[in-house]
């Protein structure tokens, strides 16, 4: 039971990170109707920027952790958001009215570019960082000496995710930009006729998605203490799986899917085998889609005849 509780905590933390990346997929899909294949690599870039800015701050002699974290968060969100904007500008905007497969392939190309760009720029080796946030709480001490722990970093990851999700839900539901986004999601042509700047709205969607991916990248760095140039691919597929599982286009769905994938992966590695954890996650995706072709919270697609 204690073991299960610990795995549950670990799963929720991992799921939060996946959920943050999945929101980016879901938003872009909702508005443009395309899988943003480069999104996983945006997450990886976010992790790298966080790592580099952290190193620079520490070498400048800054030691107060909350300030470091805040600056790293803002810097990585800002720069990564610009990466998201650039990806949209290069790989999506010229192909806005092209046929379906073209933007998908240009996004796959963009993903290769970003992966190999960071490999060339920063080397192929794994970059480790010492733990920045230490300490935690002991929740329960079992009879067999097994201790259920909740570390500070785990609390930070979950709290950050919840705060960002709340902020983001507010943004979509209440602000001008959110209204424009929902209008574009319904019908781009009609939204444009009614005075919505469609290009700007789509750009902003990519920017916000990339900023959230940057937060996920930074959380990943803090939690696992490493980044490498290839981590975007696997995390990207998992997060995309999460978005599809939750019902692509739905924000709570993305979070729910993220949690589901995180839990499945953690529990599978805890009770069965670490090697097959990804196989388990993907298999469950296939099984869920057989019975619910639009995901857990997805709306059934209306067939236009």
């Amino acid at each position: 039971m204690d073991y299960f509780a610990q795995q549950l905590i670990n799963g929720i933390v991992l799921g939060s990170i996946y959920g943050l990346i999945a929101i980016g997929y879901t938003m872009v899909y909702g508005i443009v109707g395309m899988i943003n294949f480069a999104h996983g690599d945006i997450f990886m870039i976010g992790g790298f920027i966080a790592l580099i800015s952290f190193l620079i701050l520490v070498s400048f002699g800054l030691t107060f952790v909350p300030v470091i974290l805040l600056i790293v968060l803002l810097v990585s969100m800002a720069i990564t958001a610009l990466y998201g904007w650039t990806v949209e500008r290069i790989a999506y905007r010229p192909l806005r009215h092209s046929f379906r497969l073209a933007p998908m392939l240009s996004a796959i190309g963009m993903s290769f570019v970003l992966t190999n760009y960071s490999q060339v720029a920063q080397g192929a080796r794994v970059k480790p960082v010492p733990p920045i946030i230490t300490g935690g709480y002991t929740l329960h001490e079992g009879a067999g000496g097994f201790v259920v722990q909740l570390s500070n970093i785990q609390i930070i990851v979950v709290v950050t995710t919840v705060v960002l999700l709340a902020l983001f839900t507010w943004l979509v539901a209440r602000t001008r930009l959110g209204r424009d986004m929902r209008a574009c999601e319904q019908d781009q042509t009609m939204a444009a006729l009614l005075g919505v700047d469609v290009d700007r709205t789509i750009s902003m969607t990519f920017v916000i998605g990339a900023a959230l991916a940057a937060v996920a990248g930074m959380m990943y760095l803090l939690y696992y203490g490493l980044v490498d140039f290839f981590m975007g691919f696997v995390a990207g597929i998992k997060a995309f799986t999460a978005a599809v599982l939750g019902g692509i286009g739905s924000l709570p769905g993305a979070m729910l899917g993220g949690l589901a994938i995180g839990l499945i992966e953690t529990l599978w590695s805890a009770y069965f085998s670490v090697e097959y954890k990804d196989v388990a996650a993907f298999s469950i995706l296939i099984v869920v889609l057989i019975f619910m072709p639009t995901g857990l919270l997805g709306r059934p697609e209306v067939e236009k005849v």
């Binding site: 580099i52 990466y83 392939l105 240009s106 290769f112 920063q122 599809v244 296939i286 072709p293």
Partner: protein, 444 residues
């Protein structure tokens, strides 16, 4: 009068395009964006130091060079765009040139085919070119195989490499464990891959578009992960070694007494095997092409194309979309399996590294770049992509970077592919008059 003359200068100003100030401003903004993008990634280099601690050093020279390149490049691109005219306009090509182009278009396929047949004769002593030819033909075959699924049936498959892997491992395991010959294993590999195609087809029957894409991608990853982790069967990351070479219907191509060279009474040369492999993959590719062309004229092929154009209409016409999708997946997968078996026998060694998502993306890029559904286009795209890929072999770690960029630029330049036609195979040439008593009011 003033109202008529006044717009004239404005019109000429527009036709001349934006002025120097505009171009400069645009380049400046691009340079600024590049500065922020590259500031930390290029300007700072991190590396694990001797004690395991990360250290960093700055590379502001590289950063400045990159930003300057973006600034200059932006100006050049903008000038080129003005010189070339707005993107997307059809440039007027004179009539004689058009007819010449049409004639070349008709002759290009047969000429290419004859040339391909003669490649081993012309380049007999150039091992590198023969190897490259085999590689290109392998991708032509993979492209034609995936073309059935993506180009004809319109089902987006991002996990095609899974079937390639199934074919390769089927042959490798059957040949090394049971000693079966290539010619027995080839159909078996095809059947096994087709079986996996059907297996994948079942869950995705109800899915469409991007759901289909992610499931096929997940399926490709599942196959790869199983191959890596099922060490006792597949050898895990080490792969399978000692895969037997193909024989000419039982006669091995070896220097021994029972080898082909000895039987024909000619001197043995290792090039014989390369030439044999070349013709083998050419035959397999042509088989794929022939079967596809034949199938297109049969009801099943027409059902595929109907499915691609409109699934709802397709169902309304009474076409069974279940069998249509499954046959498309199975046919495509079978050719992938053949190509995989060929790959295994050519390499003599296979490992999971050869079956990554990158391969799937490459084959998909070939199909889309070729113009979905066009057989000639796929062949030309494979030649361009693999040939281009080879050109950058010396660049090593920049190769994938260039490949990714090329993919983006090609899509922007020709989103519909090199030969961008996807006209249905069937046309009704004569308009037919339908008698009014056949048409009930409101049902016409």
């Amino acid at each position: 009068m003033g109202g008529v003359t006044a717009p004239a200068p404005r019109a000429t100003a527009i036709s001349r395009g934006p002025g120097a100030a505009f171009i400069f401003k645009k380049a400046l903004i691009s340079a600024l964006v590049a500065l922020v993008l590259f500031s930390l990634m290029i300007g700072v280099r991190t590396e694990a130091g001797p004690s395991g601690q990360l250290i960093y050093w700055t590379r502001f020279g590289d950063l400045a060079a990159m930003v300057a390149t973006v600034f200059g490049g932006s100006i050049v691109v903008e000038l080129l765009r003005q010189w070339w005219g707005p993107v997307g306009t059809v440039r007027n090509v004179p009539q004689p040139v058009q007819s010449v182009l049409a004639t070349t278009g008709r002759w290009i396929a047969p000429v290419l085919l004859v040339f391909t047949f003669l490649v081993p004769v012309i380049f007999y002593n150039e091992r590198y070119i023969l190897d490259l030819g085999i590689l290109v033909l392998t991708y032509v075959m993979l492209g034609w195989g995936l073309n059935v699924v993506v180009g004809l049936a319109g089902l987006l498959d991002l996990g095609y490499v899974a079937f390639y892997a199934v074919g390769a491992y089927s042959y490798a395991l059957l040949a090394t464990n049971f000693g079966l010959s290539f010619w027995v294993c080839l159909p078996l590999a095809g059947i096994l891959a087709a079986f996996w195609g059907v297996l994948l087809g079942f869950p995705v029957l109800r899915l469409r578009g991007d759901y289909l894409a992610i499931v096929t991608l997940a399926f490709g990853e599942i196959i790869r992960l199983v191959i890596i982790n099922w060490q006792s069967l597949t050898g895990g990351p080490n792969g399978v070694t000692g895969i037997p070479r193909p024989s000419l219907f039982g006669i091995p191509l070896t220097p021994g007494d029972d080898g082909l060279a000895a039987k024909l009474g000619i001197e043995f040369s290792p090039t014989h095997r390369i030439v044999f492999l070349f013709y083998l993959i050419l035959a397999l590719a042509l088989l794929t092409n022939w079967v596809t062309i034949r199938l297109r004229r049969l009801p099943i092929g027409r059902a595929w194309e109907a499915l691609r154009e409109d699934e709802v209409a397709c169902r309304a016409l009474g076409i069974n979309t279940t069998t249509t999708k499954l046959t498309a997946f199975a046919t495509g997968a079978m050719f992938g399996g053949f190509a995989g078996a060929f790959f295994a026998t050519r390499q003599g060694f296979i490992s999971p590294e050869s079956f990554t998502f990158q391969e799937s993306a490459l084959v998909l890029a070939i199909v889309v770049l070729g113009g979905m559904g066009s057989q000639l286009g796929v062949a030309l795209a494979a030649l361009a992509m693999i040939g281009g890929f080879e050109l950058f072999r010396g660049l090593d770690q920049y190769r994938m970077l260039v490949f990714g960029l090329a993919m983006v630029l090609l899509m922007i330049w020709r989103p519909r592919g090199l030969i961008g036609h996807r006209a249905p195979t069937v046309f009704l040439h004569h308009s037919q008059a339908i008698s009014s008593d056949l048409v009930k009011e409101g049902h016409g």
